[in-house]
Symmetry: C2
DNA sequence: CCTACCGATCGGTAGG
DNA sequence: CCTACCGATCGGTAGG
């Protein structure tokens, strides 16, 4: 008589979080009501609270899941026996893929983190700061090696991260070119420029 | 006995819009209440409605002011007798300056347009689409001229616009380098790359 | 410009 | 998982 419940990978909480990410992306966190989320799932709003603690908790789950994915990946990149340029390219390509594979979640983490409550807000911002610092160090190494131009590492990282975030606008042009073209061209431009 | 009222350039409505842009940027449009906005200005919430029609109207004012500024500028750029690369550089530098000079307004236009009501939402998105198309045409010309690499023009414009938007994160590093360094380095990277 | 107030909607809980 | 409901807060209006 064992319960099947969480035997498959996908608890009810996961399903709620997934639907919430899509809703929050479309309408924004504050403008999304628990009643609408419940309707998307097919239950009454009050029933959601059997699986989640609060609306805020859903946002936390989404934001920290995304942050964790990026942290784990840069852990791996730092261990690679490659030069800075290769590491940077690796990171850019990973960001492109995350943006495509976990679109709703990454979008929400990028746009709605402001609505996190303390201490989660500070924690999230701190994680992001550390992530950026690690990327900046890679650019610095590249400048020291002589592989990269003497551009302010902060600015280079800012430019890369911003550009990659913008893939959220790419959806509209999906039919004109595929993800691999997007990935290759964006990487090329960010690292080697537009000019011949 | 003429009223002095709007003789100086700065009506009460302008002051409200300015404060609103700052508040909307900090907390998001939906999470900002008219009561808090009123408090920032020093009146009761109901008094705001003597100068503005609705909360939504403020957002419209902000978004279309920003869109208009960008449209007017690209009008000028298209008339220039320069090659595509110079035009592109001109646009990048203008975006950087807009981001710095009208930070709250540009931020709100970039992040909160979703909360616009119809028909303003469609109008705004349409204006943005046209703006992008004009930029894309400039890149296309550059590729045809042979000045630029054969990168998908859509992707190049996406990359540029996204990178420039990211200046909103720059505030944290204000002390480490100035706006001219930001402008120069970002332009350099986007057009000529990071590698030597 | 303020006081007073309205209807709507929100996140969340009690109790079964 | 649902019905029923609560207190809080929202954008906005009436009336002076």
């Amino acid at each position: 008589m064992a319960k099947i419940k969480a035997s498959r990978n996908g608890t009810k909480k996961d399903a709620i979080t997934k639907k919430a990410a899509a809703l929050f992306r479309k309408k924004g966190f504050v403008a999304s009501s628990m009643r609408e989320l419940a309707e998307n799932i097919g239950v009454e709003a009050s029933s959601l609270y059997n699986h989640i603690g609060s609306k805020s908790e859903i946002l936390q789950t989404i934001c920290f899941k995304v942050a964790n994915d990026f942290n784990l990946h840069i852990d791996e990149v730092e261990k690679l026996q490659e030069d800075s340029l290769a590491k940077l390219e690796n990171l850019v390509r990973f960001h492109v893929h995350m943006m495509v594979d976990l679109f709703d979640e990454v979008y929400v983490a990028n746009h709605e983190w402001k609505q996190l409550k303390e201490p989660y807000l500070s924690n999230f911002l701190n994680q992001r700061k550390i992530y950026e610092a690690r990327m900046i160090q890679i650019v610095k190494d590249g400048v020291d090696e002589g592989t990269l131009k003497p551009i302010q590492p902060h600015i280079a990282v800012l430019t890369i991260l911003s550009a990659v975030r913008g893939i959220e606008y790419w959806q509209r042009h999906k039919k004109e070119y595929g993800i691999s073209e997007l990935e290759n061209d964006m990487t090329e431009q960010l690292l080697h420029g537009l000019t011949k």
